[in-house]
Protein backbone atom coordinates (compact mmCIF):
# COMPACT_ATOMS: atom_id res chain seq x y z
CA UNK A 1 0.00 0.00 0.00
CA UNK A 2 2.89 2.31 0.82
CA UNK A 3 5.86 1.96 -1.49
CA UNK A 4 9.33 3.45 -1.08
CA UNK A 5 11.03 3.47 -4.49
CA UNK A 6 14.77 4.16 -4.56
CA UNK A 7 14.38 6.81 -1.98
CA UNK A 8 17.37 9.06 -1.33
CA UNK A 9 17.42 11.66 1.39
CA UNK A 10 20.22 14.06 2.27
CA UNK A 11 20.40 16.14 5.40
CA UNK A 12 21.28 19.78 4.68
CA UNK A 13 24.81 20.70 5.56
CA UNK A 14 25.95 17.14 6.08
CA UNK A 15 28.19 15.02 3.92
CA UNK A 16 26.76 11.76 2.76
CA UNK A 17 23.17 10.70 2.62
CA UNK A 18 20.83 9.85 5.43
CA UNK A 19 18.99 7.42 3.14
CA UNK A 20 20.75 6.09 0.08
CA UNK A 21 18.51 4.17 -2.29
CA UNK A 22 15.91 2.38 -0.14
CA UNK A 23 13.07 0.48 -1.78
CA UNK A 24 10.42 -1.61 -0.09
CA UNK A 25 6.68 -1.97 0.20
CA UNK A 26 4.28 -1.95 3.11
CA UNK A 27 1.33 -4.23 2.45
CA UNK A 28 -2.09 -4.23 3.99
CA UNK A 29 -2.96 -6.82 6.58
CA UNK A 30 0.48 -7.23 8.07
CA UNK A 31 3.09 -5.52 10.22
CA UNK A 32 6.16 -4.33 8.37
CA UNK A 33 9.00 -3.30 10.64
CA UNK A 34 11.91 -1.02 9.85
CA UNK A 35 14.79 -1.76 12.19
CA UNK A 36 18.44 -0.93 12.47
CA UNK A 37 21.03 0.75 14.67
CA UNK A 38 20.83 4.37 15.78
CA UNK A 39 21.45 6.72 12.92
CA UNK A 40 20.62 4.16 10.26
CA UNK A 41 17.87 6.40 8.98
CA UNK A 42 14.75 4.72 10.35
CA UNK A 43 13.00 7.82 11.65
CA UNK A 44 14.11 9.74 8.58
CA UNK A 45 11.99 7.44 6.45
CA UNK A 46 8.95 8.23 8.55
CA UNK A 47 9.67 11.96 8.32
CA UNK A 48 9.96 11.62 4.58
CA UNK A 49 6.57 9.96 4.49
CA UNK A 50 5.24 12.81 6.64
CA UNK A 51 6.85 15.15 4.10
CA UNK A 52 8.85 16.90 6.78
CA UNK A 53 12.08 16.26 4.86
CA UNK A 54 12.43 16.53 1.08
CA UNK A 55 13.55 13.63 -1.09
CA UNK A 56 16.83 13.93 -2.92
CA UNK A 57 15.80 11.14 -5.26
CA UNK A 58 13.24 8.40 -5.79
CA UNK A 59 9.64 8.62 -4.69
CA UNK A 60 7.13 7.44 -2.15
CA UNK A 61 3.71 6.29 -3.31
CA UNK A 62 0.43 5.42 -1.62
CA UNK A 63 -1.53 2.89 -3.61
CA UNK A 64 0.58 3.74 -6.65
CA UNK A 65 0.02 7.50 -6.55
CA UNK A 66 2.86 9.71 -5.39
CA UNK A 67 2.64 11.12 -1.90
CA UNK A 68 3.63 14.57 -3.13
CA UNK A 69 0.43 14.86 -5.09
CA UNK A 70 -1.70 14.50 -2.00
CA UNK A 71 -2.86 17.41 0.11
CA UNK A 72 -1.80 17.41 3.74
CA UNK A 73 -5.23 16.42 5.00
CA UNK A 74 -5.70 13.87 2.25
CA UNK A 75 -2.51 12.14 3.32
CA UNK A 76 -3.64 12.18 6.93
CA UNK A 77 -6.92 10.56 5.95
CA UNK A 78 -5.06 7.69 4.30
CA UNK A 79 -2.17 7.31 6.73
CA UNK A 80 -2.29 7.76 10.49
CA UNK A 81 0.98 8.55 12.24
CA UNK A 82 2.03 7.92 15.80
CA UNK A 83 5.25 9.91 15.97
CA UNK A 84 8.09 9.50 18.38
CA UNK A 85 7.42 12.71 20.23
CA UNK A 86 4.26 14.48 21.06
CA UNK A 87 3.91 17.50 23.27
CA UNK A 88 1.44 17.64 26.07
CA UNK A 89 1.72 21.24 27.19
CA UNK A 90 -1.97 21.42 27.86
CA UNK A 91 -3.98 18.83 29.68
CA UNK A 92 -6.97 17.61 27.77
CA UNK A 93 -9.27 14.71 28.43
CA UNK A 94 -8.64 11.49 26.60
CA UNK A 95 -11.95 11.91 24.82
CA UNK A 96 -11.02 15.36 23.51
CA UNK A 97 -7.60 14.13 22.51
CA UNK A 98 -8.87 11.19 20.49
CA UNK A 99 -11.42 13.49 18.86
CA UNK A 100 -8.53 15.51 17.38
CA UNK A 101 -8.14 12.62 14.96
CA UNK A 102 -11.07 13.91 12.94
CA UNK A 103 -9.13 17.04 11.93
CA UNK A 104 -8.18 15.67 8.50
CA UNK A 105 -11.80 14.76 7.91
CA UNK A 106 -13.03 18.10 9.12
CA UNK A 107 -16.13 16.55 10.60
CA UNK A 108 -15.64 17.19 14.30
CA UNK A 109 -18.92 17.02 16.18
CA UNK A 110 -20.81 14.99 13.61
CA UNK A 111 -22.25 11.54 14.19
CA UNK A 112 -19.71 9.97 11.85
CA UNK A 113 -16.95 11.46 13.93
CA UNK A 114 -18.47 10.28 17.16
CA UNK A 115 -18.82 6.74 15.84
CA UNK A 116 -15.25 6.65 14.61
CA UNK A 117 -13.98 7.91 17.95
CA UNK A 118 -16.04 5.42 19.94
CA UNK A 119 -14.95 2.52 17.78
CA UNK A 120 -11.31 3.50 18.07
CA UNK A 121 -11.55 3.92 21.83
CA UNK A 122 -13.05 0.46 22.22
CA UNK A 123 -10.54 -1.21 19.96
CA UNK A 124 -7.60 0.32 21.73
CA UNK A 125 -9.05 -0.66 25.07
CA UNK A 126 -8.92 2.85 26.52
CA UNK A 127 -12.58 3.25 27.35
CA UNK A 128 -11.91 3.30 31.12
CA UNK A 129 -9.71 6.40 30.68
CA UNK A 130 -12.09 8.55 28.72
CA UNK A 131 -12.71 11.10 31.43
CA UNK A 132 -9.12 11.31 32.61
CA UNK A 133 -6.75 14.01 31.45
CA UNK A 134 -3.77 12.93 29.41
CA UNK A 135 -1.25 14.21 31.91
CA UNK A 136 -2.47 11.67 34.46
CA UNK A 137 -1.87 8.64 32.23
CA UNK A 138 0.98 6.22 32.63
CA UNK A 139 3.34 5.62 29.71
CA UNK A 140 1.55 2.49 28.59
CA UNK A 141 -1.88 4.06 28.86
CA UNK A 142 -0.73 7.09 26.94
CA UNK A 143 0.62 4.99 24.07
CA UNK A 144 -2.65 3.13 23.76
CA UNK A 145 -4.54 6.41 23.80
CA UNK A 146 -2.31 7.65 20.99
CA UNK A 147 -3.03 4.51 19.01
CA UNK A 148 -6.72 5.08 19.65
CA UNK A 149 -6.34 8.53 18.18
CA UNK A 150 -4.59 7.07 15.14
CA UNK A 151 -7.35 4.50 14.74
CA UNK A 152 -9.98 7.21 14.88
CA UNK A 153 -8.44 8.71 11.77
CA UNK A 154 -9.78 5.66 9.91
CA UNK A 155 -6.84 5.44 7.57
CA UNK A 156 -5.70 2.48 5.54
CA UNK A 157 -2.23 2.63 7.02
CA UNK A 158 -0.80 3.11 10.48
CA UNK A 159 2.77 4.30 10.88
CA UNK A 160 4.41 4.20 14.31
CA UNK A 161 7.86 5.49 15.24
CA UNK A 162 9.34 3.72 18.29
CA UNK A 163 5.99 3.11 19.99
CA UNK A 164 7.28 1.01 22.88
CA UNK A 165 10.63 2.55 23.76
CA UNK A 166 9.78 3.42 27.33
CA UNK A 167 7.27 0.76 28.17
CA UNK A 168 7.54 -2.20 30.48
CA UNK A 169 7.12 -5.77 29.32
CA UNK A 170 3.40 -5.93 29.94
CA UNK A 171 2.67 -2.71 28.12
CA UNK A 172 5.00 -3.61 25.30
CA UNK A 173 3.07 -6.80 24.74
CA UNK A 174 -0.26 -5.00 25.03
CA UNK A 175 0.73 -2.54 22.35
CA UNK A 176 2.14 -5.13 20.00
CA UNK A 177 -0.85 -7.41 20.39
CA UNK A 178 -3.10 -4.48 19.62
CA UNK A 179 -1.04 -3.69 16.54
CA UNK A 180 -1.29 -7.32 15.45
CA UNK A 181 -5.07 -7.15 15.72
CA UNK A 182 -5.14 -3.90 13.77
CA UNK A 183 -3.01 -5.40 11.04
CA UNK A 184 -5.20 -8.46 10.94
CA UNK A 185 -8.21 -6.23 10.27
CA UNK A 186 -6.66 -5.09 6.98
CA UNK A 187 -4.64 -2.03 7.93
CA UNK A 188 -1.08 -1.66 6.62
CA UNK A 189 1.07 -1.26 9.71
CA UNK A 190 4.55 0.24 9.35
CA UNK A 191 6.54 0.10 12.52
CA UNK A 192 9.91 1.65 13.24
CA UNK A 193 11.56 0.06 16.22
CA UNK A 194 14.99 -0.83 17.47
CA UNK A 195 13.63 -3.64 19.65
CA UNK A 196 14.39 -6.50 17.31
CA UNK A 197 13.24 -9.27 19.59
CA UNK A 198 9.68 -8.00 19.84
CA UNK A 199 9.60 -7.09 16.21
CA UNK A 200 10.73 -10.56 15.28
CA UNK A 201 7.72 -12.06 17.04
CA UNK A 202 5.05 -9.83 15.59
CA UNK A 203 6.22 -8.47 12.24
CA UNK A 204 5.64 -10.38 9.05
CA UNK A 205 8.50 -8.58 7.41
CA UNK A 206 11.58 -6.77 8.64
CA UNK A 207 13.52 -4.16 6.67
CA UNK A 208 16.91 -3.91 8.32
CA UNK A 209 18.71 -0.64 7.61
CA UNK A 210 22.41 -0.04 7.88
CA UNK A 211 23.87 3.43 7.23
CA UNK A 212 21.00 4.49 5.01
CA UNK A 213 20.83 1.30 2.95
CA UNK A 214 18.88 -1.90 3.28
CA UNK A 215 21.10 -4.60 4.71
CA UNK A 216 18.48 -7.31 4.52
CA UNK A 217 14.77 -7.39 3.88
CA UNK A 218 12.47 -10.31 4.50
CA UNK A 219 10.68 -12.54 6.98
CA UNK A 220 11.99 -12.56 10.55
CA UNK A 221 13.86 -15.85 10.27
CA UNK A 222 15.68 -14.53 7.19
CA UNK A 223 16.70 -11.33 8.95
CA UNK A 224 17.42 -12.75 12.38
CA UNK A 225 20.73 -14.33 11.51
CA UNK A 226 23.84 -13.86 13.56
CA UNK A 227 26.24 -12.92 10.77
CA UNK A 228 23.87 -10.30 9.30
CA UNK A 229 23.02 -8.71 12.60
CA UNK A 230 26.62 -8.63 13.76
CA UNK A 231 27.67 -6.77 10.66
CA UNK A 232 24.83 -4.29 10.97
CA UNK A 233 25.04 -3.66 14.70
CA UNK A 234 28.82 -3.94 14.84
CA UNK A 235 28.71 -5.92 18.05
CA UNK A 236 29.25 -9.64 18.71
CA UNK A 237 25.96 -11.44 19.19
CA UNK A 238 24.17 -14.69 18.72
CA UNK A 239 20.64 -15.40 17.63
CA UNK A 240 18.91 -18.14 19.48
CA UNK A 241 15.52 -19.70 19.26
CA UNK A 242 13.60 -20.12 22.49
CA UNK A 243 12.74 -23.82 22.93
CA UNK A 244 9.35 -23.22 24.61
CA UNK A 245 7.81 -20.59 22.40
CA UNK A 246 10.02 -20.78 19.32
CA UNK A 247 10.71 -17.06 19.40
CA UNK A 248 13.88 -15.79 17.82
CA UNK A 249 16.00 -13.67 20.12
CA UNK A 250 19.10 -11.62 19.61
CA UNK A 251 21.55 -12.06 22.47
CA UNK A 252 24.49 -9.65 22.54
CA UNK A 253 27.77 -11.02 23.90
CA UNK A 254 29.86 -9.30 26.53
CA UNK A 255 33.24 -8.03 25.40
CA UNK A 256 34.63 -7.25 28.80
CA UNK A 257 34.37 -9.13 32.05
Amino acid sequence: MIAFESVRIAYPGQVGRAIDGVSFQVERGMITAVAGPNGSGKSTLVRALLRRVPLAGGRITIDESPVDALGARALARRVAFVTQREETAFARTVGDYVALARYPHGDAGTDAARRAVEAAVVRAGVEPFLARTIDTLSGGEWQRVRIARALAQEGDALVLDEPTSFLDVAHEMLVFELLAQIAASGVAVLLVSHQLNLVARFASRIVLLHRGRIAVDGAPDVVMRGEVLERVYEWPLVVSRDPAVGALALVPLRRHH
Binding site: L50, F81, E86, L100, Q153
Partner: protein
Amino acid sequence: MIAHRGWHWPAALAGLVVVAILGVALGAVSISLHDLAAVVRGDAPASVREIVLTLRAPRVVLAALVGAALGASGSTMQATLRNPLAEPYLLGVSGGAAVGAVGAMLLRLPAASWPIGAFVGAAVAVALALGVARGTSMLRAADPRTLLMAGVVVGALANAVVMIALANVPPETVRGALWWMMGSVGDATWTSVAWLGAYALIAIIALLTQAPTIDALTLGDEAAAGLGVRVERATAQAFLTAALLAAATVAAAGLVGFVGLIVPYLARGAGLSRQREILLASVIVGAMLVIAADLVARIATPPSELPLGAVTAVLGVPFFLVQLRRLR
Protein backbone atom coordinates in the same frame (compact mmCIF):
# COMPACT_ATOMS: atom_id res chain seq x y z
CA MET B 1 -15.46 13.90 29.66
CA ILE B 2 -16.26 16.97 31.69
CA ALA B 3 -19.83 17.92 31.04
CA HIS B 4 -20.12 21.54 29.98
CA ARG B 5 -23.09 22.68 31.88
CA GLY B 6 -25.49 24.53 29.67
CA TRP B 7 -25.66 27.63 31.81
CA HIS B 8 -21.97 28.47 31.75
CA TRP B 9 -21.91 30.45 28.55
CA PRO B 10 -25.06 32.50 29.12
CA ALA B 11 -23.84 33.18 32.66
CA ALA B 12 -20.54 34.47 31.33
CA LEU B 13 -22.27 36.73 28.86
CA ALA B 14 -24.60 38.00 31.56
CA GLY B 15 -21.58 38.70 33.73
CA LEU B 16 -20.09 40.74 30.93
CA VAL B 17 -23.25 42.80 30.60
CA VAL B 18 -23.37 43.44 34.35
CA VAL B 19 -19.73 44.52 34.46
CA ALA B 20 -20.28 46.79 31.48
CA ILE B 21 -23.23 48.48 33.12
CA LEU B 22 -21.23 48.97 36.30
CA GLY B 23 -18.45 50.43 34.22
CA VAL B 24 -20.77 53.02 32.75
CA ALA B 25 -22.52 53.78 36.00
CA LEU B 26 -19.55 54.18 38.32
CA GLY B 27 -16.82 56.74 38.16
CA ALA B 28 -15.97 60.24 39.31
CA VAL B 29 -19.69 60.77 39.53
CA SER B 30 -22.13 57.95 39.96
CA ILE B 31 -24.79 57.61 37.34
CA SER B 32 -27.82 55.84 38.66
CA LEU B 33 -29.62 53.19 36.65
CA HIS B 34 -32.51 55.57 36.44
CA ASP B 35 -30.30 58.14 34.75
CA LEU B 36 -28.88 55.48 32.46
CA ALA B 37 -32.34 54.56 31.37
CA ALA B 38 -33.05 58.25 30.77
CA VAL B 39 -30.00 58.49 28.54
CA VAL B 40 -31.20 55.52 26.53
CA ARG B 41 -34.63 57.06 26.23
CA GLY B 42 -33.09 60.36 25.23
CA ASP B 43 -34.47 62.64 27.90
CA ALA B 44 -31.55 62.87 30.30
CA PRO B 45 -30.03 66.23 31.31
CA ALA B 46 -27.23 67.39 29.03
CA SER B 47 -24.39 66.94 31.51
CA VAL B 48 -25.37 63.34 32.29
CA ARG B 49 -25.77 62.60 28.61
CA GLU B 50 -22.35 64.05 27.85
CA ILE B 51 -20.68 62.03 30.54
CA VAL B 52 -22.34 58.80 29.51
CA LEU B 53 -22.26 59.10 25.75
CA THR B 54 -19.04 61.00 25.16
CA LEU B 55 -16.90 59.80 28.05
CA ARG B 56 -18.06 56.62 29.69
CA ALA B 57 -19.75 54.52 27.05
CA PRO B 58 -17.03 54.68 24.39
CA ARG B 59 -14.52 54.03 27.10
CA VAL B 60 -16.26 50.94 28.41
CA VAL B 61 -16.81 49.58 24.91
CA LEU B 62 -13.18 50.20 23.98
CA ALA B 63 -12.07 48.51 27.19
CA ALA B 64 -14.24 45.52 26.32
CA LEU B 65 -12.80 45.35 22.81
CA VAL B 66 -9.24 45.63 24.07
CA GLY B 67 -9.85 42.88 26.61
CA ALA B 68 -11.55 40.64 24.09
CA ALA B 69 -8.79 41.13 21.55
CA LEU B 70 -6.03 40.53 24.08
CA GLY B 71 -7.79 37.42 25.35
CA ALA B 72 -8.12 36.05 21.83
CA SER B 73 -4.55 36.92 20.97
CA GLY B 74 -3.14 35.49 24.18
CA SER B 75 -5.00 32.21 23.93
CA THR B 76 -3.80 31.80 20.36
CA MET B 77 -0.21 32.59 21.25
CA GLN B 78 -0.22 30.16 24.13
CA ALA B 79 -1.68 27.33 22.09
CA THR B 80 0.55 27.91 19.08
CA LEU B 81 3.69 28.26 21.15
CA ARG B 82 2.60 25.35 23.34
CA ASN B 83 3.48 27.51 26.32
CA PRO B 84 1.08 28.65 29.01
CA LEU B 85 3.30 31.68 29.71
CA ALA B 86 3.12 33.13 26.21
CA GLU B 87 1.37 36.44 25.78
CA PRO B 88 0.19 38.74 22.98
CA TYR B 89 3.12 41.13 23.04
CA LEU B 90 5.68 38.56 21.99
CA LEU B 91 7.35 38.89 18.61
CA GLY B 92 8.30 42.44 19.46
CA VAL B 93 4.74 43.79 19.26
CA SER B 94 4.96 45.99 22.34
CA GLY B 95 8.45 47.24 21.57
CA GLY B 96 7.65 48.01 17.97
CA ALA B 97 4.42 49.78 18.89
CA ALA B 98 6.30 51.90 21.42
CA VAL B 99 8.86 52.89 18.80
CA GLY B 100 6.09 53.79 16.37
CA ALA B 101 4.07 55.84 18.84
CA VAL B 102 7.04 57.59 20.43
CA GLY B 103 8.39 58.28 16.96
CA ALA B 104 5.13 59.96 16.00
CA MET B 105 5.28 62.00 19.21
CA LEU B 106 8.83 63.10 18.57
CA LEU B 107 8.07 64.08 15.01
CA ARG B 108 5.38 66.32 16.51
CA LEU B 109 2.75 64.60 14.44
CA PRO B 110 -0.84 65.21 15.55
CA ALA B 111 -2.08 63.02 18.35
CA ALA B 112 -4.46 61.23 16.00
CA SER B 113 -1.47 59.75 14.19
CA TRP B 114 0.06 58.04 17.22
CA PRO B 115 -2.17 54.94 16.96
CA ILE B 116 -1.23 54.58 13.31
CA GLY B 117 2.42 54.94 14.26
CA ALA B 118 1.98 52.31 16.94
CA PHE B 119 0.36 49.85 14.55
CA VAL B 120 2.94 50.39 11.83
CA GLY B 121 5.74 50.04 14.37
CA ALA B 122 4.28 46.80 15.68
CA ALA B 123 3.78 45.39 12.20
CA VAL B 124 7.34 46.24 11.24
CA ALA B 125 8.63 44.60 14.41
CA VAL B 126 6.68 41.41 13.69
CA ALA B 127 7.99 41.31 10.13
CA LEU B 128 11.49 41.92 11.46
CA ALA B 129 11.12 39.10 13.99
CA LEU B 130 9.95 36.70 11.29
CA GLY B 131 12.87 37.76 9.12
CA VAL B 132 15.34 37.27 11.92
CA ALA B 133 13.85 33.85 12.63
CA ARG B 134 14.06 32.78 9.02
CA GLY B 135 17.54 34.09 8.45
CA THR B 136 19.43 33.09 11.53
CA SER B 137 18.10 29.86 12.86
CA MET B 138 18.93 26.40 11.70
CA LEU B 139 15.53 25.29 12.82
CA ARG B 140 12.56 25.96 10.69
CA ALA B 141 11.45 29.57 10.74
CA ALA B 142 8.13 28.85 12.37
CA ASP B 143 9.59 26.81 15.21
CA PRO B 144 8.24 28.34 18.41
CA ARG B 145 11.65 28.59 20.03
CA THR B 146 13.04 30.47 17.08
CA LEU B 147 10.14 32.86 16.98
CA LEU B 148 10.36 33.51 20.69
CA MET B 149 14.03 34.35 20.52
CA ALA B 150 13.57 36.50 17.43
CA GLY B 151 10.84 38.39 19.26
CA VAL B 152 13.15 38.92 22.22
CA VAL B 153 15.84 40.29 19.92
CA VAL B 154 13.48 42.71 18.22
CA GLY B 155 11.95 43.72 21.53
CA ALA B 156 15.36 44.48 22.99
CA LEU B 157 16.25 46.59 19.97
CA ALA B 158 12.99 48.49 20.22
CA ASN B 159 13.46 49.18 23.92
CA ALA B 160 16.91 50.55 23.29
CA VAL B 161 15.60 52.82 20.55
CA VAL B 162 12.82 54.14 22.77
CA MET B 163 15.15 54.80 25.67
CA ILE B 164 17.65 56.63 23.50
CA ALA B 165 14.87 58.68 21.96
CA LEU B 166 13.38 59.61 25.33
CA ALA B 167 16.72 60.63 26.77
CA ASN B 168 16.90 63.60 24.46
CA VAL B 169 13.47 65.15 24.67
CA PRO B 170 11.81 67.66 27.00
CA PRO B 171 10.29 66.27 30.18
CA GLU B 172 6.72 66.87 29.04
CA THR B 173 7.23 64.62 26.05
CA VAL B 174 8.70 61.95 28.28
CA ARG B 175 5.69 62.17 30.52
CA GLY B 176 3.32 61.85 27.60
CA ALA B 177 5.28 58.92 26.18
CA LEU B 178 5.38 57.11 29.50
CA TRP B 179 1.69 57.66 30.02
CA TRP B 180 0.95 56.20 26.62
CA MET B 181 3.13 53.22 27.31
CA MET B 182 1.30 52.52 30.55
CA GLY B 183 -1.95 52.04 28.71
CA SER B 184 -5.24 53.89 28.90
CA VAL B 185 -8.69 53.84 27.35
CA GLY B 186 -9.22 57.42 28.44
CA ASP B 187 -9.08 58.75 24.89
CA ALA B 188 -11.80 56.46 23.67
CA THR B 189 -14.04 57.94 21.03
CA TRP B 190 -16.72 56.24 19.01
CA THR B 191 -14.37 56.45 16.04
CA SER B 192 -11.59 54.51 17.71
CA VAL B 193 -14.20 52.07 18.98
CA ALA B 194 -15.41 51.52 15.43
CA TRP B 195 -11.91 50.93 14.11
CA LEU B 196 -10.87 48.49 16.77
CA GLY B 197 -14.28 46.84 16.71
CA ALA B 198 -14.15 46.11 13.01
CA TYR B 199 -10.55 44.93 13.17
CA ALA B 200 -11.07 42.75 16.20
CA LEU B 201 -14.20 41.19 14.76
CA ILE B 202 -12.41 40.13 11.58
CA ALA B 203 -9.37 38.87 13.45
CA ILE B 204 -11.35 36.93 16.03
CA ILE B 205 -13.44 35.27 13.35
CA ALA B 206 -10.21 34.34 11.56
CA LEU B 207 -8.83 32.87 14.77
CA LEU B 208 -12.03 30.92 15.32
CA THR B 209 -11.75 29.30 11.92
CA GLN B 210 -8.13 28.48 12.67
CA ALA B 211 -9.07 26.98 16.04
CA PRO B 212 -9.19 23.30 15.01
CA THR B 213 -5.80 23.64 13.32
CA ILE B 214 -4.41 25.29 16.41
CA ASP B 215 -5.71 22.40 18.50
CA ALA B 216 -3.68 20.05 16.31
CA LEU B 217 -0.63 22.30 16.55
CA THR B 218 -0.60 21.95 20.32
CA LEU B 219 0.50 18.35 19.85
CA GLY B 220 3.84 19.38 18.43
CA ASP B 221 5.10 19.88 14.90
CA GLU B 222 5.45 16.24 13.91
CA ALA B 223 2.22 15.01 15.41
CA ALA B 224 0.40 17.96 13.88
CA ALA B 225 1.92 17.18 10.50
CA GLY B 226 0.71 13.64 10.98
CA LEU B 227 -2.82 14.95 11.39
CA GLY B 228 -2.57 16.82 8.12
CA VAL B 229 -1.62 20.30 9.34
CA ARG B 230 0.64 22.39 7.16
CA VAL B 231 2.73 23.25 10.16
CA GLU B 232 4.79 26.21 8.98
CA ARG B 233 1.92 27.90 7.26
CA ALA B 234 -0.54 27.33 10.08
CA THR B 235 1.90 28.51 12.74
CA ALA B 236 2.82 31.63 10.85
CA GLN B 237 -0.83 32.36 10.11
CA ALA B 238 -1.87 32.00 13.71
CA PHE B 239 1.02 34.09 14.92
CA LEU B 240 0.50 36.89 12.48
CA THR B 241 -3.21 37.11 13.19
CA ALA B 242 -2.65 37.12 16.93
CA ALA B 243 0.29 39.52 16.82
CA LEU B 244 -1.46 42.03 14.57
CA LEU B 245 -4.54 41.85 16.75
CA ALA B 246 -2.37 42.70 19.73
CA ALA B 247 -0.80 45.50 17.71
CA ALA B 248 -4.25 46.94 17.07
CA THR B 249 -5.00 46.99 20.79
CA VAL B 250 -1.74 48.79 21.45
CA ALA B 251 -2.63 51.33 18.81
CA ALA B 252 -5.99 51.91 20.48
CA ALA B 253 -5.00 51.84 24.13
CA GLY B 254 -1.26 51.62 24.64
CA LEU B 255 0.35 48.71 26.46
CA VAL B 256 -2.07 46.78 28.62
CA GLY B 257 -0.13 43.90 30.03
CA PHE B 258 -1.04 40.62 31.70
CA VAL B 259 -4.55 40.38 30.30
CA GLY B 260 -3.51 38.15 27.41
CA LEU B 261 -1.47 36.07 29.80
CA ILE B 262 -3.98 35.55 32.57
CA VAL B 263 -7.27 35.23 30.76
CA PRO B 264 -6.51 32.03 28.80
CA TYR B 265 -5.18 30.53 32.00
CA LEU B 266 -8.54 31.22 33.65
CA ALA B 267 -10.37 29.75 30.68
CA ARG B 268 -8.34 26.55 30.82
CA GLY B 269 -8.76 26.45 34.55
CA ALA B 270 -12.50 26.32 34.04
CA GLY B 271 -11.98 22.98 32.34
CA LEU B 272 -12.08 24.02 28.70
CA SER B 273 -9.69 22.25 26.38
CA ARG B 274 -10.83 22.91 22.84
CA GLN B 275 -9.24 25.97 21.30
CA ARG B 276 -12.55 27.27 20.00
CA GLU B 277 -14.04 27.28 23.48
CA ILE B 278 -10.90 28.64 25.09
CA LEU B 279 -10.86 31.43 22.52
CA LEU B 280 -14.48 32.41 23.12
CA ALA B 281 -14.12 32.19 26.88
CA SER B 282 -10.98 34.33 26.69
CA VAL B 283 -12.82 36.90 24.64
CA ILE B 284 -15.61 37.21 27.20
CA VAL B 285 -13.44 37.07 30.31
CA GLY B 286 -10.89 39.42 28.76
CA ALA B 287 -13.57 41.99 28.07
CA MET B 288 -14.86 41.74 31.64
CA LEU B 289 -11.39 42.00 33.09
CA VAL B 290 -10.38 45.14 31.23
CA ILE B 291 -13.70 46.89 31.90
CA ALA B 292 -13.19 46.13 35.59
CA ALA B 293 -9.56 47.25 35.49
CA ASP B 294 -10.55 50.51 33.83
CA LEU B 295 -13.18 51.05 36.49
CA VAL B 296 -10.57 50.57 39.21
CA ALA B 297 -8.23 52.90 37.36
CA ARG B 298 -10.89 55.57 37.36
CA ILE B 299 -12.05 55.41 40.95
CA ALA B 300 -8.97 54.33 42.90
CA THR B 301 -7.17 57.69 43.17
CA PRO B 302 -9.50 60.63 42.64
CA PRO B 303 -9.28 63.13 41.08
CA SER B 304 -6.62 61.58 38.91
CA GLU B 305 -6.64 58.26 37.12
CA LEU B 306 -4.27 55.38 37.26
CA PRO B 307 -2.92 54.09 33.98
CA LEU B 308 -4.81 51.01 32.86
CA GLY B 309 -1.61 49.04 32.42
CA ALA B 310 -0.69 49.74 36.03
CA VAL B 311 -3.90 48.16 37.28
CA THR B 312 -3.54 45.09 35.08
CA ALA B 313 0.10 44.78 36.10
CA VAL B 314 -1.03 44.39 39.69
CA LEU B 315 -2.94 41.32 38.55
CA GLY B 316 0.32 39.80 37.45
CA VAL B 317 1.46 39.37 41.03
CA PRO B 318 -1.08 36.81 42.21
CA PHE B 319 -0.93 35.09 38.85
CA PHE B 320 2.78 34.42 39.01
CA LEU B 321 2.55 33.44 42.65
CA VAL B 322 0.04 30.79 41.68
CA GLN B 323 2.31 29.59 38.88
CA LEU B 324 5.21 29.36 41.30
CA ARG B 325 3.20 27.26 43.69
CA ARG B 326 2.21 24.90 40.93
CA LEU B 327 5.86 24.40 40.09
CA ARG B 328 6.52 23.00 43.51
